[in-house]
Structure formats: C-alpha cells, structure tokens
Symmetry: C2
Subunit: 314 residues, 2 copies
C-alpha cells in the first residue's frame, strides 16, 4: 500500500501546494486507487502521478469545502475518456449528490460508466467493506460536517509451517492446503494434527487514518488508534494556535498530540497554509516532532509506502 | 491590450495544455482583466501569470462544457481571499447561474464581494458596454449553445493640430481644449475655427473576437469582421476534418478560412486536441497558414499584444 499526496495545501492553491487530494494505492493483487478529497486541479496533478483516473474506483470526501471537492466534476468527466474506467463509488457528506448532479448536468458530461454517490450524515453510520479493506468513519470537529476515515486491511493469513509438518511425518500433499485453511487433519495412523499448531498466527493488516479538516478531537484519536499511518491536517504552526482555533483547524503540534494519544506509528502532516515559507514549514514540522518524533511533512507528489510490520502486535 | 492564454487544450488537460481560459488585459488607464472561459485549474495557471484573480472583474463564458467552466467555483472562492477584489460580473449561457449557485452553496464559500450572473440565450440579445469597451455576442454552431464574443474598443480621439492652430494665430490656452473636444471656436477678430480642421480624425479602437467551440460558420465571420485579432478553436488538423465535423469542432484550416472571410488581421489558434504531438501541432499550424498566413498557435502562458494600427482604416 502507498499513500500518494496529490495536493497538500490549505484553502487556496499555491505554486508549491495544490489544494487537497490524497490517493491510497491498494495492494494485495490489485492496482486500485482510492481518493480522499478531490480539490480543483486534482486531475492535473494526476497527469504526473504513477496512476490515472481510471484506476480510481472509490472517492471519499471528508467535507464539502470547495478546496476539497471542486476537482470532482472534472475528474468524473475525464474518467469517461479513459479506457478501462469501471464503476465509481463516491462517499461524502450530505449535499454532495446535488452538487455533483448539477455540475455533471450543466457541464454536459456524458459519464460512460456507472457512478453512485452515498451521502453520510451523523444519523447514518455505516462501514464500507470492499475486498481486503474495511473503511469506517466518524465526524470530526470543523465549521461544517467534516469526517475522518479509517481504512483497515484484513489480516494476512499465517504461513504454513512445512518444517513442523514434515517433522510430524506428513509429506507435502493436498492435506497441506486443508491445514493451512484452518482444518484439523486425522492421519491414517490415527493421530490428529491440530491446524493451529502448524500455521503461524495471522499477521495483522495495515491501518491508515485519513482525517478531514478538524480541531484536535477524541474522534480523531479513535480513528487513528494503533494506526500504521495517520494523515492529519496541520494548517498552522504552534505560534498561530489562535488562528487554528478560530478557523476550526489544527496546529502541527496538536496533530502530533493526536497521533501520540492514538498510539499511531507514523504521522503525515498535510493541509499546510500557504502563509508559511520554507522556514515556516520547518518550524511546523519541528513543532510536531517535539511531541511525536516519527512525523513527516507531506508535499505534492510525495509517496509514502505503508510498510507491513511483521510482528507488530505479537 | 493583451491577450494572455491561461489554458489552450481541448476537452481534457494535458501536461502541455490546460483546459480553456483566455484573459484579455484591458488598457487605456486600467489594469482590469476580462476572462473568457474558466476551465478547471485556471486559478492555478493564474498563479504564474502577471495578474491575479482580483484584477478580473468580468468573466464571459462561451458554453457550459465542463472544460470551459469547472474552474469558476474555485476562482470565485479564491477571489474572496484576495485584497482588492471588487464586484464581479459573469455572463454566459442559460444554466450558468444554477451551476454556480449550487457550487458556491455546497462549497460553503463566503463570497465577500458582490457578484452577478447574466444568462444569455438566443431570445435575449444584448450588448455589454463598459468603459472604453463594448462587447457583443452571437451564437455559434456547436453541440450545445456556444457563443462568440466581439470586443470593440472606443475610437481614440484624434490629436490636436497645435501646429495649424498656431499658424492660424491662436496661441496655446483654454480654447485648445474646446477645439479638441470638437467645438468650433469664434475668435475676437470674428474668424471661426472649425474644430474638424484642427483635430486629426479619430483613430479606430481595436477589435478582438474570441469564439467558443464551434464549426466554422457565418456568425463567426461576422463577429470577427475587420478584427485585429480573432481567437478561433482549432481542435483538429485538416487530416482529421471528419472528426471535427462529427464533434462539432473546427480544423485549423477551417479557422483560417473564417479569419480570411472576416478580413481579420491576425488569427490565434487555440483549443488544440491532446492527440497531437509536436509534429502534429506543426502540421496544424501549417494547415492554417496556407490559407491565412498571419496565424499563430497559442500555448499556455502565451501573451499576444493587441497593437494599435495607426492608419489602419484611413
Ligand atoms: Zn480545507
Ligand atoms: Zn471545449
């Protein structure tokens, strides 16, 4: 799995950072991509990314501020021109469907693939289960409804201990598959081999939390609990904490405190205000690292591999 | 006056050409900018242009295809963050208002300046007169209503012939102003100086025609009559004339024939399909030059000065 940052700025595009969009490239035999937010110019950013719109089959929207959604109509339209664009599911706050339908109808886009919009609200809470992945969400604390998403990967099956099976006198054959899938096996000599004794315990899947614009909050901590990676907004430096509070955003230090409270492994800061120059961004990163050392600051076109940690929870 | 091309591609953005937007920088004592179309990413293109969104006070939309309008909601929102953003007038086809209102409401943009949308249709034809400029429009021939705009500059007043006035015995003084503004003057000695004899004839203002997506048509010729510059789409090369006809677009050669029929001075080709590589674009330009030699091919960030031709129509 890989996180690929298409846009990492806050509110307005700048020459250094486009407005928000984050791609999650799935693995385990698929090259599918999920998008989290789709600010204006996301399809342009994708022109120099290692995947195109056709690979995207799910889009999750954190909130309806323009810098997070105004790239959607163009993305939907362009996807029609791409060979291999299959069905597309879009999930986001109440109001998303009207916006998209109006834009598509006005723009005369002929969407040549099935697409659906699922609207979420506080009253409706559900979980998306798709292949080896499960996505849950919670409302965060922003000026308007803003959601955070937690992507959990199905555990990896444990390895078959062929060494132990051979030592027990069972040569390679069809029974190996049966044991690997968890079934005990009785041998001709009457002995029963308990599957659990010959299969390593499953390795946990990866957990990624991608949060929308928010004040630091318990919901963010919950979503990021034990996550391999938490992506949190860091619109301001600690020195501008008053601005962060006033505009319902977070400082980098506040994001780091959330990551620490959640017991996450790694924090990626994004959604950085264009008010900061290079020195300001260094300060912003330093603010966070003081509290949560394993922090990096995203930039447009940054790729972050989500590594499997083999014995993470053993 | 200057034309500045923010986006020159057709349908889809590419790494070389963003989708359509053309800026007209006015002159004669103003730094105002008018935008013709505003595809997705126009505000990003403007980040490296010599003017920002605050300078734009009129936007003309040729037609509602997404590649010509999906940058509008972001542009409106970003303009609110810019110091000096005054009122904004937007003119475009029926349906534009609903699209913009829905987008602005969904995106929660607080538009901090007055803005208005005027919708045009075949039933309603009017002319915009603003300062030294007059804009008229006509419907072209595309799959959906698509308009072309003709911008006419007010004539430049002729120069006062001080040499002739002094030879007639009138020394510099307040009467000079009277004569310059066209009033005859009777001197103390009884002689009457006819103003027209002492003021050069007015120099014609400049004419620019900026056309939306279209098949070649008489309406385009009319809009570009005697224009200093005609900006015409050239989606395809002559070899792809069948595609141009099928998709309601023009070839470069067809655009050139329109410029020639209109008696225009210069043709700028834009809205070029991303199917053409560098060689293809050279061919496209050559197709046009064979018919209308004073042709150039626009690229993103091309600036074209609209020069005054002093004795053009004398
Ligand atoms: Zn935001
Ligand atoms: Zn077009």
């Amino acid at each position: 799995m890989e996180l690929y940052f298409l846009g990492t700025g806050a509110g307005l595009p700048s020459t250094r950072r486009n407005v928000t969009s984050i791609a999650l490239r799935l693995s385990r035999g698929t090259s599918r991509v999920w998008l989290f937010d789709c600010g204006e110019g996301t399809q342009q950013q994708m022109l120099t990314a290692p995947f195109g719109p056709a690979k995207v089959d799910r889009i999750f929207i954190t909130h309806l501020h323009g810098d997070h959604i105004f790239g959607l109509p163009g993305m939907l339209g362009s996807r029609s021109f791409q060979a291999g664009s299959g069905p597309l599911s879009i999930l986001g706050p109440l109001g998303l469907r009207t916006f998209l339908k109006t834009a598509v109808e006005t723009g005369g886009s002929h969407i040549l693939y099935p697409w659906e919009v699922t609207e979420i609200s506080d009253a409706v809470r559900d979980v998306v289960i798709d292949g080896d992945y499960r996505v849950s969400y919670r409302r965060l604390r922003h000026g308007i409804p803003s959601y955070g998403y937690r992507v959990e990967e199905r555990p990896f099956p444990g390895a078959l201990r062929k060494d132990l099976l051979e030592a027990a006198g069972l040569p390679p054959g069809p029974l190996y598959k049966k044991i690997k899938s968890g079934h005990d096996v009785t041998l001709p000599d009457g002995r029963t081999l308990v599957a659990a004794d010959y299969v390593d315990p499953p390795e946990p899947g990866r957990i990624i939390a991608i949060l929308g614009d928010t004040r630091p909050c318990d919901e963010a901590v919950e979503l990021a609990r034990d996550a391999d990676i938490i992506v949190h907004e860091a619109t301001y430096t600690a020195a501008d904490a008053d601005l962060a509070a006033r505009h319902h955003h977070s400082t980098a230090a506040e994001a780091a405190a959330v990551a620490r409270a959640a017991g996450a492994r790694k924090l990626v800061l994004t959604h950085v205000s264009s008010r900061y120059d290079h020195d300001g961004e260094e300060q912003l990163l330093a603010d966070a690292k003081r509290i949560f050392p394993n922090t990096i600051l995203a930039h447009d076109h940054l790729s972050v591999l989500v590594e499997r940690v083999m014995s993470k929870r053993c």
